[in-house]
């Protein structure tokens, strides 16, 4: 990461392969003369040649090499149609950089990606097929498969061996990530995240199943610290579990009063924190949970 060229931008090979089901005005299939403009952050892009034979299923097979600023988050591909009255926009696809950067695959992996196009009114219009490959200098080819992992959280960041059993898929039927995030105590946790210690930071990251991890969040914590942090948090959790267990009682009362959705959500939250520490409580809760649910 020392070299200036690679720390500010990455070189990406983008091949625009083909389009499918392109339509004009949402109804008639495109007859001919479609082309694609590929843009990174900059306003001016690179255009393919005009396809004259493929009609609504054009084939371009054209490769571009673009320098993308590190901070760029999208590549856009815009399909246009050349007509006598000027160029007409057919549809645009926004390609998140995270679709071809990060994860466990080798850095220079050849990705085949397809996207739904949207026209200027936001209507679905056809599909574009591309391949994308990040160029990697010989010296660091695949050396840091995890570098640039930022923002790709969620599905691939958890070490898969740890995934089972401990994996946090919030209990049962009703819970979901948004509920957790909007909840009071969770905000408290998020608040602590900004503590100098950064303790909760790593925990949240290891636990969450939502692809919400902000870029850089993972990179911050060092692996060695991680172990200690997790341990300390477990302690923490044990304390909170007691709180949580107490918390359950009023929540159940609330449930009896009929505050359905929110209550169930809070229950799930309580269950979650309890589950991490106290097993007995958790199982009792499950029973309660089912009863409320039914």
């Amino acid at each position: 990461m020392e070299r200036a060229s690679s720390s500010w931008s990455r070189t990406v090979e983008i091949k625009v392969i083909s389009g499918e089901g392109l339509r004009v005005n949402r109804t008639t299939p495109v007859k001919k003369n479609t082309f694609v403009i590929v843009r990174t952050e900059s306003r001016e892009g690179q255009a393919t040649r005009v396809d004259t034979e493929g009609g609504s299923r054009p084939v371009w097979n054209e490769k571009f090499v673009v320098d993308m600023p590190m901070h760029a988050r999208f590549v856009t591909a815009e399909v246009q149609c050349k007509t006598s009255a000027g160029n007409k926009a057919i549809g645009t696809a926004k390609i998140p950089v995270t679709d071809f950067v990060g994860g466990y695959v080798p850095k220079n992996y050849l990705h085949f990606l397809s996207y739904r196009l949207r026209d200027d009114k936001g209507e679905r219009n056809g599909i574009i097929n591309l391949s994308v490959k990040v160029r990697v200098a010989e010296s660091d080819g695949g050396k840091y498969p995890m570098a640039g992992n930022a923002g790709h959280a969620g599905n691939y960041t958890r070490p898969w061996r740890a995934a089972p059993v401990q994996q946090k898929v919030a209990g049962g039927i009703v819970t979901g990530v948004p509920v957790w995030y909007n909840n009071q105590p969770s905000k408290k946790v998020r608040g602590k995240k900004r503590d100098k210690s950064g303790r909760f930071d790593s925990v949240r990251f290891a636990d969450t199943t939502s692809p919400d991890g902000k870029p850089g969040a993972a990179a911050v914590s060092q692996p060695e610290n991680n172990v200690i942090e997790v341990a300390s948090v477990e302690e923490d959790a044990r304390e909170t579990s007691e709180d949580a267990a107490e918390e359950v009682v009023p929540v159940k009362e609330e449930a009896a009063r009929g505050g359905a959705g929110l209550v169930v959500a809070r229950l799930a939250l309580a269950e979650e924190s309890v589950a991490r520490a106290g097993r007995k409580v958790s199982r009792q809760l499950d029973l309660e949970f089912l009863r409320i649910d039914s």
Binding site: L110, S114, G171, D286
Partner: protein, 585 residues
């Protein structure tokens, strides 16, 4: 319907030929082949290639002729029809010769009933891919039924059937004349060689009144009985008397042999379907190769008949071969033999919809008498076929949708109960882990596929990072009721970029008809051409899902092996070929 001034969008496209990307295996499934041969089924089956043509079809369009498509169905043992394949749409023709071929296995011991239905495709649908066409929206032109054995046993290997309307098809009397359908069957033999040709014509005759000819080529093979069967058609070039067409790919498998005579006909395209013959030549592939090396052109001729004398009028126009290259199309087995490993992973559905495992109507009921339940049967049967291709026979095994003793519902837990590793040894390992898991978890819900698919994707991408030559197959055994359709789609779309295929086996007598609905697994199988789309507008770059309803199957039955391995080689090869990964030799 359609109208006479149609653009004939579909009619001008190229059809057929062993295209380099389109259909990698051409119906030939060497994975099935190898399995069956190794299990002593050698010679009990052979691959048959069907070509279809029709004559005197009914004209359903007002101002033009019908635009027919033929659909082949196979009849299952329960009498249900299953779609087997579709031809292309031939524009404005009452005597179509379809180019698309269909390969199926001929089993000597089975009664294989085939049903052919012909439809007239409305002009508005001509732009669609044929597999996307909704047949109920098309006009029905007639159907015919026969068995595969009937076709194969005729001396010419062709059978002409009268088309009947649906109600009459069971009776032998036909009130209305709906035309005839001819089916030609030929035994396939496998060859990996494919040729790429660039063909050019010079000095073509002008057939159009106000403009120049719009030429295209049809390449047909001559078979023993003397009839010709079209195998590919080039695109139509407009207003060209010296046209050069896009490369044509012909596999030896389609052609028969390098010395088999081919008929190359040059036509002038007419949107009314009456294409005029400009001229033709008869050459084998080796002749064409000679033409290329000598850079000589071959004169086209037109057959003319004066009374009983048949003369060939030789024209000034000539056919040139600008490029002739042979290449070897690597097969699935080439990769396997070259050390490319297949790795299987198993995920088992522990959701409550399977029924309480303590009651004997549950799909998870462990019978004390030792009779396997639906899941055990599926693990054994499916595992037996799949493990054949897995060299180390160590399978990652997960369960989903249950509550382990010490935690909340998990949608991906290790079947072996271990916290640290998920692999088990062999099929027996899966069986043991499965039964012990049943005693240690309580069935819950909902049915989420996302987490196991992501776990599998992670294994696959880690192996890529380790530069291992591996392709993964995740086998999900489920009762089929799925709750997280969009999440599953998201996971699948992501996984479509990885060396991973997903085989979903539906167990239980459950009505998989219900699976037509939106919440069903079947929707994930992109066979109908509808590509999976994630919530973030990303679309699956290839089909990686195959759905197999697992009913009461007999051990080692050929059809089971076939349905399990039906799409695997294609999915595997699509991955390898799109990335230009050659097999090790």
């Amino acid at each position: 319907m359609g109208n006479c001034c149609s653009d004939a969008v579909g009619g001008r496209a190229a059809v057929g030929g062993a295209s380099s990307h389109g259909n990698p295996v051409n119906g030939q499934n060497d994975a099935v082949d190898l399995y069956l041969r190794s299990h002593g089924y050698h010679g009990l089956f052979s691959q048959i290639e069907l070509s279809l043509s029709a004559s005197d079809l009914r004209d359903r369009d007002v101002l033009s002729k019908s635009d027919p498509i033929a659909v082949i169905y196979t009849k299952g043992r329960d009498g249900a029809l299953q779609e087997f394949g579709r031809t292309e749409v031939v524009i404005n023709s009452l005597n179509p010769q379809w180019i698309t071929k269909h390969t199926l296995n001929y089993h000597f011991e089975e009664l294989q009933t085939l049903v052919f239905r012909v439809y007239d495709v409305d002009t508005q649908f001509h732009d669609l891919e044929v597999k996307m066409l909704k047949l109920e929206e098309q006009q029905f032109l007639g159907e015919a039924i026969c068995t595969l054995a009937e076709i194969v046993t005729t001396s010419s290997r062709s059978l002409t059937l009268d088309l009947a309307s649906r109600e009459e098809s069971t009776r032998s009397t036909h009130l209305r004349k709906l035309g005839q359908l001819s089916v030609h069957a030929e035994e396939c033999f496998s060859s990996k060689t494919a040729t790429e040709l660039i063909l050019r014509c010079s000095d073509l005759e002008n057939k159009d009144l106000f403009s120049k000819s719009d030429p295209f080529l049809i390449i047909s093979k001559k078979v023993e009985s003397g009839i010709t069967i079209p195998i590919c058609k080039t695109e139509v070039l407009k207003n060209e008397l010296g046209p050069t067409w896009k490369p044509v790919y012909l596999s030896i498998q389609e052609v028969g042999s390098k010395d088999n005579p081919l008929v190359i006909e040059c036509f002038n395209f007419n949107s009314n379907g009456k294409h005029d013959l400009i001229g033709k030549v008869e050459k084998s592939l080796s002749d064409l190769e000679k033409l290329q090396s000598t850079e000589q052109g071959e004169h086209l001729f037109v057959p003319t008949s004066v009374g009983n004398n048949h003369h060939n009028k030789v024209l000034k126009s000539r056919l040139f071969v600008d490029k002739f290259t042979e290449s070897v199309q690597h097969t699935f087995l080439d990769y396997i033999a070259g050390g490319y490993e297949l790795n299987f992973m198993v995920a088992i559905d522990f959701t409550a919809s399977n029924g309480n495992p303590r009651l004997n109507d549950s799909l998870h009921y462990i019978d004390p008498s030792g009779r396997p339940n639906a899941y055990q049967k599926a693990i054994l049967e499916v595992g037996e076929v799949l493990q054949f291709y897995d060299t180390d026979k160590r399978f990652p095994a997960w369960g989903f949708g249950a509550r382990p003793i010490d935690g909340p519902v998990s949608h991906c837990f290790n079947l072996n109960g271990s916290m640290s590793y998920c692999e088990v040894e062999g099929i027996q390992g899966i069986m043991t882990a499965y039964t012990s898991a049943l005693f240690n978890v309580s069935l819950a819900g909902p049915t989420l596929f996302g987490p196991v698919i992501n776990a599998a994707a992670l294994v696959a991408s880690q192996s890529l990072a380790d530069k291992k030559q591996k392709y993964f197959v995740l086998l999900i055994i489920t009762d089929g009721v799925i709750t997280d359709l969009q999440e599953t789609k998201d996971a699948l779309v992501k996984a479509s970029d990885l060396p991973l295929s997903i085989l979903i086996v539906g167990v239980g007598g459950a009505d998989f008809k219900e699976m037509e609905s939106d919440s069903a697994v079947q929707i994930l199988d992109a066979d109908k051409g509808e590509r999976l789309e994630s919530s973030s507008m990303r679309v699956a770059s290839r089909d990686i899902v195959q759905f197999v309803p697992f009913r009461d199957v007999q051990s080692g039955e050929i059809s089971v092996v076939q349905s399990l391995l039906a799409e695997l080689p294609t999915q595997f090869l699509t991955y390898m070929r799109s990335r230009d990964i050659p097999p090790n030799t």
